[in-house]
Symmetry: C2
Subunit: 109 residues, 2 copies
DNA sequence: TCATAATACCTTGACAGACATAGTATTGTG
DNA sequence: CACAATACTATGTCTGTCAAGGTATTATGA
């Protein structure tokens, strides 16, 4: 068990959407994404690195995001991710699916 | 794709809790559980049979529910499930975990 | 100076829950 | 008498997540 306060099992399937949502606000690099998720969640959820990178890879393969290396002249290289139109579409669809799922869960739990 | 209106991926991890919640209201047999879930969800979610039975098996193995054969003198035999105290505890814990998860997701999505 | 933490990325193998598919058996219906 | 509905079970596959390991650079403080 890492320092996670919310069970990741219950967030399963939402990783892609969480990342897409973050990229709606502008390009970000991987490490930054995990930090921002931690902050935005109110320190309740720590996105596992391996999970994040596999999600990024999946999104990239599916054309939902594009990746480019930053132009850092010093410091560690950073790989930035940018949302595509297809990514924006997927976010909207997933957000909608979540609204439905939440409604259903509130009836069932 | 079956006749499901809500993505089962987003309900992943909630199957056990959904079943425990139903059993809070009294003993039920498997087939009945799947029907009730469909009704309670407002026809939005159809619990897959294989998923349900594997959940029931898991809950039974973990001592959260007990199973007994009904005393049907005619008709198909029915296996009933009854909540244990440990099951009630698990439900309360899972319900609480869901409340936390929902709060976090509302921040992140 | 030099160990250590923090930053930043990546890969591999394993696990667990959900699923499709298949099967058995009984009862009601047209 | 075929077929749908009820009711339970077993098997193998898929996918997202994770632990664990790795590489490399920069900042910090003892």
């Amino acid at each position: 068990m890492t320092n996670t306060t919310v069970s990741s099992d219950l967030l399963r399937g939402h990783t892609d959407t969480i990342i897409l949502k973050l990229l709606l606000g502008g390009d970000h690099y991987g490490y930054e994404i995990s930090k921002k998720v931690y902050e935005t969640s109110g320190h309740m959820y720590e996105l596992n690195e391996a999970t994040m990178y596999s999600s990024l890879k999946r999104l990239e393969n599916d054309g939902r995001i594009t990746a480019y290396w930053g132009s850092e002249t010093q410091g560690v290289r950073r790989k930035y991710y940018r949302l595509t139109d297809a990514g924006r579409e997927l976010y909207a669809a997933n957000k909608n699916a979540w609204d439905v799922a939440r409604t259903v869960l509130e009836k069932l739990l």
